[in-house]
């Protein structure tokens, strides 16, 4: 567990004598992690990590700057205060944002993940569980690689501000994973349990049962074998039923990123890209069909990016970004809201102590509709069910996309048919969501996410949660792989 004592020092005592900043904050982060893995029925070495550091942010006149250090002693923080102050002063005349206009939060409170103090399995218990799944996956000589693993993380984040704010947030995260690769007749197919680390939640062992981890080794292996022997996905324009472990990617890439306000403001144009969304669209633009309801929801306890306050200290609450298909507000932090003159969200987030907060997705969800899975399948004359993302690509304005899934299943005249491999589809965000034809009910929803959302300069890889029901889209341009 993180050692809270190391983060509890009185940061005021670390202030340099006569420190003349207009505002400062100290964000201390400690995170411990463990990774247990069994590959091809051989236990890989136990891997542990302990990370600890602090970022000091200072406002001085019009300028602002940060200094991050792995030295969280009083002396280390004092040096960081001095460095951040020097940077803020040096850059004041060139600053894009007048620091005197920036918010100076004074939030106080605590947050904790569900199961934060629940019992922990031993390394031996994890190995036994993972070995059981790994051994069970070796069902055929055509299974050429297989792995079961779990990553466990616990973190404490403490934010102290010169305005009297102090927020302490404690997280417990778990990422179980299983992947099996089959090879036959010159082709190779990999099947996973909801994608690579697609299962990533806050909480403890209850997450395993939620996704049927026990027994997944054999089940995933059977599906990998089925896939490698399956025909290629056909090409054509058809209805597509996207399951939650593909929907999360669709939401992430073609709604989440284009709604990030810092992208819209141009900060990311040199790297992650810009957005086809412009500030004038909010309030009127029809993003999708009337069935589309997208929320920023930091309050769903098990979802990966739930929290009480963002990394600048803004209190987090659930808000609609898209309601009944109409765009309402961007994913914009308090800082970005000031720059753009738009409402936003509490989403100033940093992936660690050594990177500054920027506008990020947190939990970005598609609200459920009223259709059962059976009803959605029954309503499709000619289509395909696609599940589990494996390939993603989208342009720098987040418009022209192409995504691929691990597994497809044809739907003909309202019934499920043959399994097909290499199902891909392409489209344009601004059109695609308007073809949202049916939205599954709460029983079709899964709470998933990714620990690996990349963005920013310097770059950051952050945890985001996505909850989505299964959904049906009309007129999707579907195609398969290269025939071997």
């Amino acid at each position: 567990m993180p050692d809270a004592d190391r983060l509890s020092l009185d940061v005021h005592c670390a202030l340099p004598p006569g420190f003349a900043a207009d505002y400062w904050s100290v964000r201390l982060v400690e995170e411990v992690s463990e990774c247990h893995a069994v590959r091809k029925s051989v236990a890989l070495p136990l891997q542990r990590a302990l990370d600890r550091g602090a970022m000091v942010t200072v406002h001085a006149g019009a300028g602002h700057g940060y200094a991050a250090t792995s030295d969280v002693s009083g002396a280390g923080l004092r040096a960081a205060f001095e460095r951040a102050f020097a940077i803020a002063r040096a850059c004041a005349s060139r600053s894009l944002i007048d620091a005197r206009s920036l918010p100076r939060p004074q939030s106080r409170g605590t947050y904790a993940s569900p199961g934060i103090d629940a019992p922990r399995r031993s390394a031996r218990e994890w190995r036994e569980l993972l070995m059981q799944e790994s051994v069970a996956a070796a069902i055929d000589d055509r299974i050429v690689d297989w792995e079961a693993s779990v990553e466990l993380r616990e973190a404490t984040h403490r934010l102290v501000t010169s305005t009297g704010g102090e927020v302490v947030q404690r997280y417990r995260l778990i990422y179980p994973h299983c992947a099996v690769t089959a090879h036959a007749d010159g082709d190779t197919q990999t099947r996973t349990l909801n994608g690579y680390r697609g299962i990533c939640q806050q909480g403890a062992d209850e997450v395993l049962a939620r996704f049927g981890f026990a027994g997944c080794g054999r089940r995933i292996a059977e599906q990998a074998l089925e896939l490698v022997l399956a025909p290629n996905c056909p090409s054509g324009r058809m209805q597509a039923l996207l399951m939650p472990d593909q929907m999360i990617l669709q939401i992430h890439e073609s709604i989440g990123h284009p709604l990030e306000l810092d992208r819209i403001l141009g900060d990311e144009r040199n790297f992650a890209g810009t957005s086809f969304v412009t500030p004038d669209m909010f309030g009127t633009y029809r993003y999708g069909s009337p069935l589309l309801n997208i929320t920023f929801d930091p309050g769903r306890p098990e979802e990966l990016a739930s929290y009480g306050w963002d990394d600048e200290g803004t209190p987090a609450e659930k808000v609609y970004l898209i309601r009944n298909g109409v765009l309402e507000r961007p994913l914009g932090s308090a800082t970005s809201q000031l720059r753009a003159g738009l409402p936003g969200t509490a989403n100033a987030r940093a992936d660690n102590w050594n990177r500054p907060p920027i506008d990020r997705m947190a939990n970005l969800n598609l609200e459920p509709g009223d259709a059962t899975l059976d009803e959605m399948i029954a309503g499709i004359e000619d289509g395909i069910l696609m599940e589990t993302n494996r390939s993603w690509s989208i342009d720098d304005s987040r418009n022209k996309f192409q995504f691929g899934c691990e597994r497809g299943q044809l739907i003909r005249e309202g019934g499920l048919g043959a399994v097909v491999k290499n199902p891909n589809y392409r489209g344009i965000s601004a059109v695609f969501w308007r073809n949202l034809a049916r939205v599954g009910n709460a029983q079709t929803m899964q709470v998933l996410g990714t620990p690996y959302c990349g963005k920013g300069e310097p770059s950051q890889v952050i945890r985001v949660g996505h909850a989505s029901p299964a959904c049906v889209f009309d007129g999707v341009d579907v195609f398969g792989g290269v025939d071997a």
Binding site: Q47, C91, D145
Partner: protein, 453 residues
């Protein structure tokens, strides 16, 4: 801007690393062995947008990963260190105790392999850089009147290796990487960059001038082209994105053995091939990557991967060598190239537009992924400076296009020429830490490339 009163210094020196290794030596019990890898940096990051400074800051970080072994049992602990000798020694001692306590519950690792022959090395490169604030002043002044966005990252990056046999390796590079884009409007922009081990005002000025010249072409009315096959020239920066896909497991000996590599169909006597002008190697000696890997093995200067279009080698980690046979050749566990180098051809870069004649000049590609990995089929977007060319002259910038094509066509049947000049490009990645990787790549002229959206 005024230079700040203090310039960052770093506590994570070679001598300090040796002190940390000595702590590990003393902490070891009978029958134990350790390897330890250090990754540290003191970095200045200045982000800018619309000709102004967006987020300026500095980061000082140091991580040590310890692999403690008893026979074939072992476990790893990664630690953040603070630079205070007493605190770091205590943290290391506590980590060794915790690892020792964990070992009895673990299985033997049949694929554990580490260097036992001592081979210590030392490499210190680079010179002190100007203060980041001065460089940003130069950039913003030179780009005055333009909508410029980008980042400067600079400072010393350190990597170290130590083991219980007394091997010590140290690699330190004081480097910088400046990446910027000049925007004309919306998504129409020219991206440029400058990186290296020493700052040169004249080289920067020339790069900025070149970018501003290209920006003039961006002012032409853009064209939205229909999907289809086009003749293309891929600039070295675009080729870097394709090389990036090869860095994603393609040359991994383990991925090849388990048929998961995108180049798996190139294996064997009757395997598929690329054009015979394609020769690729891992050329550690040409880049800025470390000359050692995490188990203490020394990397050869060059590892042949593709020779005249045929797959001839792979990157083999010690673990893979034991699991699948063969010799380890300096690869880390992820078996990813860190200094991929492609031989140039016979087309002068200055003749590229003339050789293209009519088609697309693609300055950059973006967001590539496999649409069918076993078939080495890749999709991705054009980005930044992509132009329609007619009779050897740029006539219009092109709206972004999606391609979807196989490596066997792009670097095989469709390859017409490679440029004589192969450009060394230092990796600009700053995920978690500043990268020490590079690629050296020529431009490529293709008779056709398939665009789908």
């Amino acid at each position: 801007m005024n230079a700040p009163d203090t310039i960052a210094t770093h506590p994570f020196s070679e001598a300090y690393f040796h002190d940390l290794a000595a702590v590990l030596d003393r902490a070891l019990a009978a029958g134990e062995f350790y390897t330890a890898s250090l990754a540290a940096e003191t970095s200045e990051f200045v982000r800018f947008n619309r000709g102004k400074v967006r987020q300026p800051g500095s980061v000082s970080q140091c991580y040590l990963e310890i692999d403690l072994m008893q026979g074939r049992r072992h476990a790893l602990q990664r630690l953040a260190l603070c630079g205070n000798p007493a605190s770091d020694a205590a943290a290391i001692e506590a980590a060794v105790l915790a690892l020792r306590a964990a070992l009895p519950a673990l299985d033997d690792d049949p694929h554990l392999l580490y260097a036992t022959q001592v081979h210590s090395t030392r490499s210190v490169r680079g010179t002190p850089l100007p203060a980041a604030e001065r460089i940003i002043d130069d950039v913003l002044t030179a780009a005055k009147g333009h909508d410029v966005v980008g980042i400067y990252a600079g400072g010393p990056v350190m990597r170290g290796f130590a083991n219980a046999a007394g091997q010590r390796n140290w690699h330190e590079a004081t480097s910088f990487n400046l990446q910027w884009s000049l925007y004309h409007r919306a998504d129409k922009a020219v991206k440029s960059g400058l990186s290296g081990l020493s700052w040169d005002d004249a080289v920067f000025a020339a790069k900025m001038q070149e970018a501003q010249s290209q920006l003039a072409s961006m002012a032409l009315p853009s064209r939205a082209l229909a999907p289809g096959d086009y003749r293309v020239f891929l600039a070295p920066a675009a080729m870097e994105e394709i090389a990036g896909m090869l860095q994603w497991g393609a040359f991994s000996a383990r991925a090849l053995a388990t048929r998961q590599s995108s180049l798996a169909r190139m294996q064997g006597e009757h395997g598929l091939g690329l054009d015979e002008r394609v020769t690729l190697r891992e050329a550690t000696a040409e880049g800025i990557a470390t000359g050692f890997q995490s188990a203490g093995f020394i990397r050869p200067d060059r590892v042949a991967l593709i020779d005249r279009g045929r797959l001839v080698g792979a990157l083999t980690s010690p673990r893979t060598a034991l699991e699948f046979g063969g010799e380890s050749n300096g690869a880390n566990n992820d078996e990813t190239p860190e200094a991929l180098s492609m031989e140039g051809g016979d087309l002068a870069l200055s003749d590229a537009l003339a050789a293209l004649d009519t088609g697309l000049y693609i300055g950059n590609l973006w967001y590539l992924n496999y649409s069918d990995r076993p078939a080495a089929r890749i999709t991705g977007m054009t980005r930044f400076a992509t132009f329609q060319v007619e009779h050897g002259r740029i006539v219009a910038p092109v709206d972004v296009l999606r391609f979807d094509d196989t490596l066997y066509r792009m670097l095989g049947s469709s390859l017409e020429a490679l440029t004589r000049e192969a450009e060394l490009r230092l990796e600009s990645s700053t995920y978690m830490q500043r990268a020490l990787a590079s690629v050296r790549l020529p431009g490529a002229l293709l008779s056709r490339m398939t665009f789908t959206l």
